[in-house]
Structure formats: structure tokens, C-alpha cells
Amino acid sequence: MSTRRLQHIKGHLLVEDKSAEMAAPNSPLTTHVLNTGIGVPGARVALSLHRMDSSTSLWNLLTTGTTNDDGRCPGLISREQFTPAVYKLRFETGKYWESLGETSFYPYVEIVFTITDHSQNFHIPLLCSRFSYSTYRGS
């Protein structure tokens, strides 16, 4: 079977594996990466959203994306997909600092959080420098 045909089939099977631009126009889950070391948005940071499968305790990849020039990544997930569960946002911060010619203490940052009321909106910022980071639940 050709590689092209395999890719085509994969696209039908892994329907939840979307790049962020396609996933949802009004995502109930948003993020904002800020480079507090320099005082600029964390632009072009690769990230991924995962959901824990409660029966297997394995992480399912939902979305991959990259922050824009403002450090945001619209379209992470649709309201329908956003079921109550444990989720993980992973930020490739090590690669980000490397692209700026810097080292960093953290190779990546993973934030694991629980969603029980999926009718609300959740804003999960990441404020990071080379040697620190913080996050909070915003709206």
C-alpha cells in the first residue's frame, strides 16, 4: 500500500488528531504563553493537548498547534469534544528557548488539569522564563 494511501486512511481513523487551526473557532479552552524573561509573548511555541482515557489511563493526543505572534493558540478544542475528563497541555518550552539561542532548566512544561464542568470557559496561561514558570486557571 502506498504511503499516500496510508496517510489518507490515517486521516479518517484519527479524527480527533487535528491541528489547532481546524479544530474549533470558539474553543472553550484557551492558553497564552508569556516569556517573562524578556517581557514578550511566547510566540511560535509548539504545544499539544491530550485527554486521559479513564479506562486505560493512557493519554490520547487531541490537538497539536503552535502559538501565534501573540503567544496564543486559537481552536484548541471544540465545545462538543470538551467532555469532563483529565487533560494535559504540553508546551515545548525547551525547543522555544533553544530557538532563541538560550538554554533552559525545563525541557518542556506539562500542565495536567481536571475538567468537571465543561460548560465553562477555561484559560490556562503559561508565564515562563528560562528558570521559572507559573500557571493559573483564568476565564
Binding site: 525547551g94 525545563y106 488539569f113 507559573s134
Partner: protein
């Protein structure tokens, strides 16, 4: 766990910023990445004391360069205080290149936020 008070290359301090108290009696664990197998090996299991600290995380001899992970059972902690929390646990992954230095990894924590930094 090794108890060598004069050799504490890696320390932590959990602070409950919501109540303004140390994060006492929180379960935590330290892991090291096996770079060949790409799996996490458990190094130490512990619980923070009344001051939110956990001495004796790792001995100098065991503290080799590599990727480490500190996992804090924050969800269980907030539950024991009768609160819910946004985060079921917190994992902080960090890289040690020069293990002759001292590394202090505090965790400042509330039910809906946390922060960490590399201290000394």
C-alpha cells in the same frame, strides 16, 4: 531514601499560597529518565514535613546529570484539606547538567494556580 544532611544537592519546598502556610504532609516522588529506554525510573518517594520540605531526596553520589521529574500529589493534598483543585497533580521536569551545584525547586501552590523556579 538517603539521610545525609550535609549533602543535599536537590531540595524542594512546598508552599500553600492560598492559606499562607507550608504545604505540609504532601506526598511526592523523584524520578530520573532512563535515556536509553526513555522511561522514568523512580528514585525516591517522600512526604513533606510540617515546614513543607522533604530532606534527603537524593544523595550526591546518585545525583548524576540527566533529566529528572518531581511529582507532587497536590490533588490528594487539597482533598485532605477538604478542597477541590484544578490540578490532580503537578509534575516538574528539569534537566541537570552540573550536579555539583545545588538545586532548590520550590512549588508555590493554590487550588487554581502554581509556580516554580530554580533556586539555590
Amino acid at each position: 531514601m538517603s539521610f545525609k544532611p550535609q549533602e543535599n544537592p536537590l531540595t524542594t519546598h512546598v508552599l500553600n499560597t492560598s492559606d499562607g502556610v507550608p504545604g505540609a504532609r504532601m506526598a511526592l516522588s523523584l524520578h530520573r529518565l532512563d535515556s536509553k529506554l526513555v522511561i522514568w525510573n523512580l528514585v525516591t518517594v517522600g512526604t513533606t514535613d510540617e515546614d513543607g520540605r522533604c530532606p534527603g531526596l537524593i544523595a550526591s553520589e546518585a545525583f548524576t546529570p540527566g533529566m529528572y521529574k518531581m511529582r507532587f500529589e497536590t490533588g490528594q493534598y487539597w482533598e485532605s484539606l477538604g478542597h477541590t483543585s484544578f490540578y490532580p497533580y503537578v509534575e516538574i521536569v528539569f534537566t541537570i547538567k552540573d550536579p555539583s551545584q545545588r538545586f532548590h525547586l520550590p512549588l508555590l501552590l493554590s487550588p487554581f494556580s502554581y509556580s516554580t523556579y530554580r533556586g539555590s
